[in-house]
C-alpha cells in the first residue's frame, strides 16, 4: 500500500471517528423541535431549556462534585499505592499489582451489580458518597497506571541529592519528588475526574432517585430524543476538550502513559 493510499484510508477513519462528535453541534443549535438534518434554522432554545431545567442543573452539579471528590480520593489512595508498587519490595507485590488493576479488567456491569447488592444492604443507594466510593474503585487503575509510569521514569538520584544536602524524607517528598511528578499528578487527577463524570453503568445502579448527568442523559435518550441532549453533549465535548488541553499543557503526555 502506498503512502498516499494510507493517508486516504486514515482520513476516512478519522471522519468516522469525528463525525459523531461533530454532528451534535448543528443539531444542538437547531430551531426544529424534532430531530431534523440539516437544521431548518438557528436557535439557542435547547441550551436555554437545559439551563432552565432544575433537573438537568441538579444532575450536572451532582456529577461535578462526585467527580471532584472521586479525583481527590483516587489520588489520595492511588498515589501512595503507585509508590508502593514501583518502589516497594515485599512479598505478594505482584498480587497487589493485579488487584489494583483488576477493576479495569472485570466488566463494569459486574462491579456495578456487586456493589449495588452491598450498598442496598448498607442503605447507601442514592447517597453521593456511595457513588464516590464506587467511582474511586474504577478510577484507581488509571491513577496507578499514570503514576507508575511517572515514577518509573523518575531519577532517584535527585532524591538522594536532596537527602545528601540535608533534606528529611518528608521535605524531599514535598520539595522534590511531588513537584517533579506534577505532570503525572495532573494527568491522573483529570483522568479520574473524567472517568467519574462520564460514568453511567455504576450510576444507573447506585444513584437511586438522584440523577447524575450521564444517568439523566440515558433516561432522556430512552424516553424522548429532543435536541436538549445534543446541547448537553456539546457541552460535554467542550469540557473534555478543555481537560485534554489541560493535560497537554500541564500533564504528562497521554500517549506516553498509554504505552
Amino acid at each position: 500500500m502506498s503512502r498516499r493510499a494510507l493517508v486516504v484510508a486514515c482520513t476516512a477513519i478519522y471522519i468516522f471517528l469525528m463525525l459523531p462528535l461533530l454532528v451534535v453541534f448543528p443539531i444542538s443549535l437547531s430551531s426544529a423541535a424534532y430531530m431534523q438534518f440539516p437544521p431548518p434554522g438557528f436557535s439557542w432554545q435547547w441550551y436555554e431549556r437545559y439551563l432552565d431545567d432544575p433537573q438537568w442543573i441538579d444532575a450536572t452539579v451532582r456529577s461535578l462534585y462526585v467527580a471532584v471528590a472521586t479525583a481527590i480520593l483516587a489520588l489520595a489512595l492511588g498515589v501512595p499505592l503507585a509508590f508502593s508498587l514501583v518502589r516497594g519490595k515485599f512479598p505478594g507485590r505482584w498480587l497487589v499489582d493485579r488487584i489494583a488493576l483488576a477493576p479495569l479488567i472485570v466488566p463494569t456491569i459486574i462491579v456495578s451489580v456487586a456493589v449495588y447488592g452491598l450498598f442496598a444492604k448498607l442503605k447507601l443507594i442514592g447517597e453521593w458518597y456511595g457513588l464516590v466510593i464506587a467511582h474511586t474503585v474504577l478510577a484507581l487503575p488509571f491513577v496507578v497506571l499514570v503514576m507508575s509510569a511517572g515514577l518509573r521514569d523518575f531519577d532517584r538520584a535527585l532524591e538522594q541529592a536532596a537527602e545528601g544536602l540535608g533534606a528529611s524524607r518528608a521535605r524531599t517528598l514535598l520539595k522534590i519528588t511531588l513537584p517533579l511528578l506534577r505532570p503525572s499528578l495532573v494527568s491522573a487527577g483529570l483522568l479520574a475526574f473524567i472517568s467519574s463524570f462520564d460514568e453511567l453503568v455504576v450510576a444507573l445502579f447506585l444513584a437511586g432517585p438522584n440523577m447524575t448527568l450521564p444517568k439523566k442523559m440515558f433516561d432522556n435518550i430512552l424516553m424522548e430524543i429532543d435536541p436538549t441532549i445534543a446541547a448537553v453533549s456539546v457541552m460535554q465535548i467542550l469540557l473534555v476538550s478543555v481537560v485534554l488541553i489541560l493535560i497537554g499543557r500541564f500533564g504528562r503526555g497521554l500517549s506516553n502513559s498509554a504505552r
Binding site: A157, A161, E163, G164, L165, G166, K175
Partner: protein
Amino acid sequence: MATRPTGLKAADLKVSGLQKRYGDVVALDGVSLDIASGELLTILGPSGSGKTTLLKVVAGFEKPDAGDVRIDGADITALPPARRDIGMVFQHYALFPHLTVRANVAFPLEMRNVPRAEIDKRVSETLQLVELGGYEQRLPKQLSGGQQQRVALARAIVFNPRLLLLDEPFGALDRKLRETMQLEVRRLQRRLGLTTIFITHDQEEALVLSDRIAVMNKGRIQQVATTTEIYERPANDFVADFVGESNIFHGTVTEPGVVSLEGGRRLFANHSGKVGQRMGVLMRPERFGRGTNVFAGEVKEAVYLGVSFKLRIACDDGLELIVRQPARGPLPAPGTRVNVAIEPEDIHVF
C-alpha cells in the same frame, strides 16, 4: 578574589571493615581506608569493582552489612544522609530540574534553616567561586554541561560540608572541557582545604587529580598509595595492568638481582626477593631505551600516536612486548628487526 566560605570544618574520614552483599554479589569485601583532613583521595576501579557502593555507604544511601564509617572519630554509620554534612556531586549532577540555579544552590542552606540574608550572601559567593555569577535565575536545562557541573559543585560545597564526594562527575563532558574542569576542581579543593573522595574508572583522570589513589577491584582495596607509587610500584598484577600500559610477566628469583621468567629469559632487575621466590615483573612501555637487558625481535604492529610510536614486538626469546619510542624518523614497518633495552632500575618487581 572571592573569599573562602567561613566556618570551614573539613574533617578526616575513616572507614573500616566494610562489608556489603547484594544477594550473591559481594560489593564490598572488608574495605578499610583512612583519609586525612584536606586530602583528595581517588577511588579507582573498573565498573562493578564496588567503588560506587563504597561511596553510597559513605554518603549514607546504603547501610553496610558490617563495618563502620567515622568522621573525625565519630561513628556515623547509622546516621541518615541528611544529617551527615557531606557534599556530593552526582554522576549526572542530579540538579533539581524545577529549581533555578540559585534555588538549587540555596537548597542545602534552606534545609539547615539558615537565615535568608545569609543564604543570599553565601549563594552568590559560591556562584562567584565557580565563576557562575549572573546565572542565578537560569534553569539547569538552560546551561551547558560544564555549567551544570559547576552548579552541582557549588551546591555540594555551599554549606561547608565536612567531606566532598565526587561520583564520576566528568564522564559526560568532552575531553577539552573535562581537562579544564579537572584542574578547576583541584584548584577549588586545595583552596578550600576540603577532604574529598573522587570516584572514577579513568586512570588518567585519577593520576591528574589525586593526592593518593585507592585502586579497587572485586570489592577489595588492591592498593592505596600516592600517584607516583601506584604507577611506579604497583602492588599486584591488577594494579599494574589497570593503571597505565604495561608489560607484565611472572618468574622466579634465581640469584640476587636476577629474575628468570617463565620460558627461560633472565632479567637483571632491582628487587628484594629471596632466591626461589615467585615474583611479578612490570616493564612500562615508555621506559625502554638503552639498558642492560636487551631484547632482539621483530615488529609485529606499529602505531603512530603523535608524540610517540607504539610498537608490538615479538622477541626471539618468545616474549611479546609493548614498547613506546619517541616519534622520530619513519614508522617502523611490520617485519623490521629491532633491538630494545631496559635498565634494571626501570623494572619493577613485586
